[in-house]
Symmetry: C3
Subunit: 323 residues, 3 copies
């Protein structure tokens, strides 16, 4: 199926997934973000790029942290932001998702930032807007089910580029619960697109999906082996609900096998950076000595994340819709 | 009792109900709204009419959809908006409604947009503000109990005027659960004020209130008869809680007797328009073929609703208080 | 321990408590607030002092009223405001408080307005920001446990100064549940700092903490005696949860002994003012005839509170951090 995120000129009109996103567009986003990093440092942290535009944060699934980053990004672009917790709203009155969307679009929304527990919901919304020729509304995926979290993937790329400059000589390891992670999926696509020659995935068999090798990824179940010589380590959050139950014996056991300690970090290349999408489980997937250590770039990721979201929002808002 | 929505010069200082609102004021609101419809189409969708004013959305009853429309209208007028979910707030600490109101007025509020499950609450608040000479605060009723929803009534009038131009030769039918509908009540008052010669109400006996004939309304229990030759059909939402229980046999039975299908719509005058305040129950009160068909003006209603709320807010804010 | 609210130049970089705050700083806040009182009266109630700054309302404990006052103060200073209900957020995902703080600071926050059920939480946050050299972020305590509520204390001082001009010849009585009140604690510190010669505390033994005499306070268990000749009466709210149970026989009994009635008010000096932090329990700690009477300055307190919060926020935002 045609990917509805590009308009007929091949420009980004929605951001739904990094999968299949042309390298030139990824680089354009990262370059634009670069110009916004300094905005957040200024005395007045605003640019008028989206003044008078209406951005709707449509969070069908609660995520205060992600909602906050988009709200800040919107306000620094001078947009008006409307937060909608949709679970508590009309869908509970039996209205269909697409009726809600049409309704909000009719209020002259300019952008929907969509978070949904169901994979593909932002795609469905974007396709509907295209099909019904409501080209004035742009969709940004803020995380859908296990599918994608493209702005997280892009801010990870921004962070790697910031510290390592060149993607084409890197070895990058993604560690942990890849099976349930939309972040991992977005990162793998982005790393591949940007020409990273070796992407590794490290985790217990129960938390790795099938088909990784076909994506060009090297799989390790032993963390010490997987970390050898890597330049970048992307740790994943272990969801609380996985810690007890069928998939894992216990949080302690997990830390023993897959927790990132200073000893394990020493196996990586000197100067390797440690990333984490947050929120961290200290003592579960990561040791505090690493999380607070000199190789961690976890807080810079957050800072860059605002700039990357500003870049994505201003780029899609500037491209006219139409398929 | 004197209606507190007009000041001593007969100007609109609060909007509480359409009942008794002079025709000149209704027309002034519709004319003002007309100038705002284009604002929402502009690149920068803002006018500075309420810059620096503080609008409080006081929602004692949850309604994300209505709150959103007022929030957007406020922001497009450049006002500052404070959303207060009052159920979760001080009233739970035992403070009286009027103490809460005085408290917020003392923060130099300029406007309260009030939604309340109790009929008459916005009236009570406006009267208290007038009586205590707190003339700097204006009240807009965003729906009170079964009593009134005046901005919905006004946006319905705007929509009818937009498509039909002249009210004085129209037949308008309101269909469904009139008994529990504040929308129906506001619409009947508005249609009568604007000189519509024939207003009909269609619904099962159990969902129609007494006294309709005295309001100058023709009552039909048979939908096919009621729709004959009408120019405008206003469908009402069937609340979920009515669908089972004493008032109605079932949603399916309701649809069979009162659902608006293409066949039934064909009984109306050619070019008749179909309206609905949303959210719709497709397959209950309205068939999808009608809801998405060429005669439906349900999404334009939403668009006009923003402009009508901007008009109401800027008009009452501009009229000095005082009874 | 060094109080982290002052930077190395002795300027206010955070507002955590009035305890130990130099008199010159208190007066500077009150003088600055004075210039903002008129702002709220203007047609456009905004000054550009914090334009482009990001203020985060971090409410770990729900308080709609206090959150609203800070939100209004922020908007009138032209800041961008992000409301975070943290109970519902990351801390529920097991993230530590300080990780949440670091994360938000990395988004280039300029100010955290912190409300927390645990005494000392804002102090802990400010100390952490200082220790980690995140000097761009300022903390304002919006109430922590039973410890402090400094902006309430400051607005009380503003109100007293407004009506009584000079602190050095006043007798001030604080009445009620001092044991559980952060307001009382902040007020006692402020009154002492500003040179009030006689501070009295009135309440039942079960609701007074130990150590009051050491703070230079005169303690009364009999209200009629305590009110004799006072210039200012600060009533405290009786929390609902105290009204039944071990500490108090009943709300009616409490009113009989400690409710402020017109008869009791007559024991104070003529022209004495009556204050209350709100929300009031009419008929429990205060009679409606007093609450609505000519000596009550309860609503002016609210108005002054906005100006005082604007003053505090603009002052701390303007002082560079660093200990």
């Amino acid at each position: 199926m045609h990917n509805p995120q590009l308009n007929k000129h091949g420009e980004l009109q929605h951001l739904l997934t990094i999968d299949g996103l042309p390298k030139a567009i990824v680089n354009h986003i990262l370059d634009t973000a670069s110009s916004f990093v300094s905005v957040s440092d200024r005395e007045v942290k605003k640019v008028p790029l989206m003044r008078g535009k209406s951005v709707f944060n449509l969070f069908f699934e609660n995520s205060t942290r992600t909602r906050t980053t988009f709200e800040i990004a919107s306000k620094r672009l001078s947009a008006d932001v409307i937060n909608l917790n949709i679970a508590a709203s009309s869908t509970s009155k039996g209205e269909s998702l697409l009726d809600t969307i049409d309704n909000l679009a009719a209020m002259h929304a300019d952008m929907f930032v969509v978070r949904h527990a169901t994979s593909g919901a932002p795609f469905l919304i974007a396709k509907h807007l295209n099909d019904t020729r409501q080209h004035h509304v742009h969709v940004v995926n803020a995380g859908d089910g296990r599918h994608a979290h493209p702005t997280q993937g892009l801010l990870d790329m921004y962070t790697i580029r910031h510290y390592k400059k060149d993607f084409t000589n890197l070895t990058v390891a993604i560690v942990g619960d890849v099976l349930h992670s939309r972040v991992a999926r977005s990162d793998i696509h982005a790393l591949t697109t940007l020409g990273v020659p070796e992407v590794r995935v490290i985790g217990p068999r129960t938390l790795l999906p099938g088909g990784l090798e076909q994506m060009g990824v090297r799989v390790f179940n032993n963390m010490n082996e997987g970390l050898k010589g890597v330049d970048v380590i992307i740790m994943l959050r272990l969801q609380n609900e996985r810690m007890s139950g069928a998939l894992l014996p216990s949080a302690q056991e997990y830390f023993k096998s897959y927790g990132l300690t200073p000893e394990r970090l020493a196996l990586a290349r000197p100067g390797a950076i440690v990333m984490h999408p947050g929120p961290m489980n200290r003592g579960v997937e990561i040791d505090s000595a690493v999380a607070d250590g000199p190789q961690a770039v976890i807080l810079p990721q957050v800072t860059f994340g605002i700039a990357v979201r500003m870049a994505v929002m201003s780029i899609v808002a500037g491209n006219s819709g139409g398929v």
